[in-house]
């Protein structure tokens, strides 16, 4: 069968008169790490809960391995979920928590203990088997929650913002634990998050949702470099989004009038719906802009003034504006900007290659 492992077809969900999920369609391939990303209330958690059977779709069909599973009750599905709150049972100790799924499937006590221990050891928390939950740290609880979900060896693991309660340094560590685990097990991970860094760091593909609608599906790189809508471009941040009108148009090149003057863009074949004089939104990634003290021969070049910087580790986000106060964001490695000797208010040239100017498809431009 060519169909994906999980298929959502025209799925909608309404709570009373509020529409949480508009008709959405997407497929999840077996063994892929898929992230569903969006801000709160965008329908991402509702979508995940429908996969787990905790919500019933208002219309549409969810298929697992080609079989309709809308009517399958939550406890009849093999789609364990790792909860944002972890939802560990406080009255059970660590190993009893992990054994829970096996116990419900009628697995015998000795086998249960053995399988639970195997997973606890795999998550490197075997020594805490007989501890109570409140004696564990946040990271250890996280591992218990993972072991509890994985002990039944499911084909799909659902994760609902599982790292949101952890310290930042622990988040990064758990990200690598998760990606490695997913590779080793070869099972499908569906990971809901509001964090772009989590989604981009781990996922093979990312689904971006907003107000119950899918804005874009693609690899992190595709989404970052080639956002399908102005919403996505703004959501992934560190992009300069510049509105303008098409001044010249031929097969491969588009020249637009913008607040920064004329900007040239190389057209990719997908977007051939442009018309002369039409409005467009251009996207230039902050890390694709070059800075230099002298004028260059680049087609896209403007003179700008340095106004602020934001230092986040090895990467620096620089804020500039031109003489008409239009803002431009540039991201550079710390070592790259040192030779430029930037001082506040100093003037400098910014330039970028036309192949790095992306045009948001007009149908989705808002």
């Amino acid at each position: 069968m060519s169909e994906g492992q999980i298929v959502l077809e025209n799925i909608t969900k309404q709570f009373g008169s509020t529409v949480a999920v508009q008709p959405i369609n997407f497929e999840i391939k077996a063994g892929e790490f898929l992230a569903i990303m969006g801000s709160s209330g965008c329908g991402k958690t509702t979508t995940l809960r429908m996969l787990a059977g905790l919500e019933t779709p208002s219309s549409g069909e969810i298929r697992l391995n080609g079989e309709r599973m809308n009517e399958l009750k939550a406890h009849e599905r093999e789609t364990p979920l790792v909860w944002q709150t972890l939802a560990l049972f406080p009255f059970l100790n660590v190993i009893e928590n992990v054994e829970f799924g096996l116990k419900m499937r009628g697995v015998e006590k000795s086998e249960r203990t053995q399988r639970a221990l195997k997973w606890l050891n795999r998550m490197e928390i075997g020594e805490f088997a007989n501890r109570s939950i409140d004696q564990l740290s946040g990271g250890q609880r996280q591992r218990v929650a993972l072991a509890r979900a994985l002990v039944t060896e499911p084909p799909v693991l659902l994760l609902d913002e599982p790292l949101s309660a952890l310290d930042q340094n622990l988040v990064v560590r758990m990200q690598s634990v998760l990606t490695q685990l997913q590779k080793e097990l070869g099972i499908t991970f569906v990971y809901v998050t509001h964090s772009q860094s989590e989604a981009f760091a781990m996922a093979d593909r990312v689904v971006i949702m907003s107000e119950g609608v899918i804005e874009q599906i693609g690899s992190p790189k595709e989404i970052y470099r080639n956002p399908a809508s102005r919403f996505v471009a703004e959501f992934v941040g560190t992009n300069n989004i510049i509105s303008g009108y098409i001044k010249e148009l031929n097969e491969h090149i588009m020249i637009c009038n913008t607040a920064f003057g004329t900007i040239e863009s190389n057209l990719d074949d997908a977007n051939n719906s442009h018309i002369l004089g039409g409005a467009v939104d251009l996207v230039i990634s902050a890390d694709m802009i070059e800075l230099s003290q002298e004028e260059t021969s680049s087609k896209n070049q403007i003179q700008i003034q340095f106004i602020a910087e934001e230092f986040t580790g090895s990467v620096v986000t620089l804020y500039f504006e031109d003489d008409k106060k239009n803002e431009l964001i540039v991201q550079k490695q710390q070592r790259e900007i040192e030779p430029l000797e930037l001082t506040y208010g100093c003037k400098i040239y910014a330039h970028w290659d036309p192949i790095n100017v992306f045009c948001i498809p007009e149908l989705n431009a808002r």
Binding site: A52, A74, H75, F89, F100, R105, A149, T152
Partner: protein, 262 residues
């Protein structure tokens, strides 16, 4: 002018007076239950177990104690089951008129006891069970269920809503979830509710006096002795009832305030 320290001392004295006011009659009763004199007067006579002996050898008191225990055990069990079901409905479901439902469930303690007792008497005689032990069990169940519900509801409100969904997600049917998640989580409050409703039943007088008939409970017997003559064995029975009730209430409190293991 009062400074901080004198306010603290005034409050301490006030607290002491409140406790004296509440416990003095009970303490007096306990003290005189061990006093050899026939009439409660000072100075005290000598220490004696005589009145306890008398109670111990009185078959009528024993019958009353047995009745009270049977009623307290049955009524507390029934009240806790009903209270649990009501509290769980509140935790789990949202429905129209839910507030009315909750208000109705909490209603019985707000009705004047005499009115409740009269109504029960009338209703039980219509059903033909007036004077039987069943009448008292049902009456005390009605009286205790709201307390049980309030206690268990308090506990369920502390429960992470995701726990139930997590159990379903891990393959537990709704019944299995009830057995393996909801009840274990609510267990401290269930024990607490059992003790408290038992205490409520054990020292309830008004309704018992109306509906108990020949199955007299301990408080009813106390009143009968008191009406006959002044006998220090009342102090002995009273001390026993007080000790039993307080023990139950203390156990209930201990379980009620067990730390929420989160």
């Amino acid at each position: 002018m009062l400074n901080d320290k004198s306010i603290v001392w005034l409050l301490r004295i006030y607290l002491l007076l409140v406790f004296v006011f509440i416990f003095m009659p009970i303490v007096t009763s306990v003290v005189f239950s061990f006093n050899s004199d026939r009439f409660p007067s000072l100075p005290l006579g000598h220490f004696t177990w005589h009145w306890y002996d008398k109670v111990y050898n009185d078959p009528e008191t024993w019958d009353a104690i047995k009745t009270s225990i049977v009623v307290a055990l049955s009524a507390s069990l029934l009240a806790t089951i009903i209270g649990f079901c009501t509290a769980y409905t509140d935790f789990r479901y949202n429905f129209k008129f839910k507030n009315a439902y909750l208000a109705l469930a909490l209603l019985p303690p707000t009705i004047p006891l005499i009115i409740l007792a009269l109504a029960m008497l009338a209703w039980f005689s219509k059903l033909g069970i007036s004077g039987q032990i069943w009448a008292l069990i049902i009456a005390h169940t009605v009286l205790g269920a709201p307390f049980a519900m309030a206690i268990i509801r308090l506990r369920l409100q502390q429960m992470d809503k995701d726990l139930e969904s997590a159990a379903w997600n891990l393959g537990a049917s709704e019944w299995a979830t009830m057995r393996h998640v909801i009840i274990p989580f609510a267990l401290p409050s269930i024990i607490s509710a059992l003790c408290l409703t038992m205490a409520v039943s054990f020292d309830e007088f008004a309704i018992a006096w109306f509906v108990s008939g020949l199955n007299k409970s301990v408080p009813v017997v106390i009143l009968e002795i008191l009406q006959g003559n002044v006998d220090p064995q009342i102090n002995a029975i009273g001390s026993f009832v007080f000790a039993t009730t307080m023990t139950l209430v203390v156990i209930a409190q201990l379980f009620l305030f067990t730390k929420n293991p989160q």
